[in-house]
Structure formats: structure tokens, C-alpha cells
């Protein structure tokens, strides 16, 4: 069983997403939530972080947090999957533990 990593900080303000991706094992998952959802957007100065993790780590993003910030789903990096709160619970249940990158 692999870890679920959660990142709730903007990649433009904190290095949480960068450190998480650097230290996450292949086969683990990342859920971007709160201000962390900005890391899932393509065409930004930080898009290469998540785009570079493709094939190694499954990346999820919390839909209600995207909606709150006016980020439409067509702006997401290819391969990023949107989940709702129920999906968040499922992810927690499917992984061995959760590591929060605050």
C-alpha cells in the first residue's frame, strides 16, 4: 500500500509541492487541495512540477476547491484527476497512510 500525499499550499508561495514530488515514491498519490490546486493548472511557471511527476505519481485535485477559485477544469494539466469530498475519503481509505505537506 502506498502513501497519499496532500498539498494545500500554492506552489508560487511555498515549496511544499516541490518537496512532496521530490520525496514521493513511485506509485504513491498526491491530492492537491485548498491553495494547492493552483499547482494543477497548465501553462504556469509551476506546471512542470506536476507535469514532470506523470507516470510516477497519480495526481488528484479537489473539485470544490477549484470551483471556489474560479479554476475551470479545462485548465488542468493532462492526467490530473478531479475528485469530490467523497473521492477524497476513498483516496484516504485506499492508501496505507496520509502525509500532509503543510
Amino acid at each position: 500500500m502506498a502513501l497519499l500525499h496532500t498539498v494545500n499550499k500554492s506552489p508560487f508561495e511555498k515549496n511544499a509541492l516541490e518537496s512532496c514530488i521530490r520525496l514521493a515514491l513511485k506509485g504513491s498519490s498526491i491530492l492537491l487541495m485548498e491553495d494547492g490546486v493552483y499547482g494543477a493548472v497548465k501553462g504556469t511557471a509551476k506546471s512542470s512540477l506536476v507535469a514532470g511527476a506523470k507516470g510516477k505519481i497519480a495526481v488528484y485535485v479537489l473539485g470544490p476547491d477549484l470551483d471556489a477559485r474560479g479554476v475551470s477544469k479545462d485548465k488542468l494539466i493532462d492526467g490530473v484527476k478531479v475528485v469530490d469530498y467523497g473521492g477524497f475519503v476513498d483516496l484516504v481509505a485506499q492508501h496505507s497512510a496520509t502525509q500532509a505537506w503543510l
Binding site: N8, K9, S10, F12, E13, E34, D35, Y38, V41, K42, G43, T44, A45, K46, S47, G63, P64, D65, D67, A68, R69, G70, V71, S72, K75, D84
Partner: protein, 139 residues
């Protein structure tokens, strides 16, 4: 200092945080609206993640928080109509002025013509604006 009460100062509110993740954005907006009652020369700057505050299409139903983005539309009615957004911050986030709220004000010196409040400027231009201020509030 004797005519302090009648002196108009240049106030700038600098916003550098994304909305919802922290309380800074909402608190800044509250302070701007309260401060608008004091008839000062007010301008707002949106830099770094602060530019996310002005992104249109915010819908907070799912997160159970108040969507305060429509309140930015009221700034024009409070004579807060100098809203500067740093171009470099927009570029880094893949955003353009078309992604932002179309904030307007009515210009009393031009037969109440409706004009855009948002002005996208470069870092160099913003640096000069900062230098002209009497008071800078940071959020």
C-alpha cells in the same frame, strides 16, 4: 501637522495572497471598504498570488465559504478605482486580464463615463507607484 484632518494622503493596499486559503484577502477587502469612508487617495495593488483574488467565475458553494469576489465590483462606488495588477504575476500564472473580474467605475470628471478600474502594469511601473505612497498596507 496642524491641518492633519484635511490632508489627503496616498494609501496603497498591497495584496499578495490567494483567496480562501488564508483570511488575508477577505480582511484586506474589509479594510479597504472601511477606509474608503476617510476620503483618501486610495489605490490597490495585486501582486504574486494576490492576482488570484480577482479571477472571475469563483463559486464557493462546494467549500461552504462566502464568495466575496462580487464585492470587488462595489469598489468603484466607493471611489476606489485605481486597481493595479502586476503583469509579471499574471504571466507566471498563465492568466491574462480577460481572466479577471471586469471591474468598472463611473468617472465624475468625464460625464460619468464607465471606465475600467483594473490597470495591468509592469513590475518597474509598480515599483515607482510604491515609491509615491504615503502609507502602504500589506496583506
Amino acid at each position: 501637522m496642524s491641518d492633519e484632518g484635511g490632508t489627503i494622503k496616498k494609501f496603497m493596499y498591497v495584496n499578495r495572497k490567494a483567496p480562501y486559503g488564508t483570511i488575508y484577502a477577505l480582511e484586506s477587502l474589509e479594510v479597504v471598504l472601511i477606509g474608503a469612508a476617510f476620503d483618501q487617495d486610495v489605490s490597490l495593488a495585486f501582486v504574486d498570488d494576490g492576482v488570484y483574488q480577482l479571477v472571475k467565475g469563483q463559486n464557493t458553494k462546494g467549500v461552504g465559504m462566502k464568495n466575496f469576489s462580487p464585492t470587488y465590483n462595489a469598489l468603484g462606488d466607493y471611489d476606489v478605482n485605481k486597481i493595479y495588477v502586476e503583469k509579471e504575476s499574471l504571466d507566471a500564472r498563465g492568466l491574462t486580464v480577460d481572466d479577471l473580474l471586469p471591474l468598472k467605475y463611473e468617472d465624475e470628471d468625464d460625464d460619468w463615463a464607465e471606465k475600467d478600474s483594473i490597470c495591468v502594469i509592469s513590475s518597474a511601473e509598480l515599483a515607482k507607484l510604491f515609491d509615491q505612497q504615503d502609507v502602504v498596507f500589506s496583506f
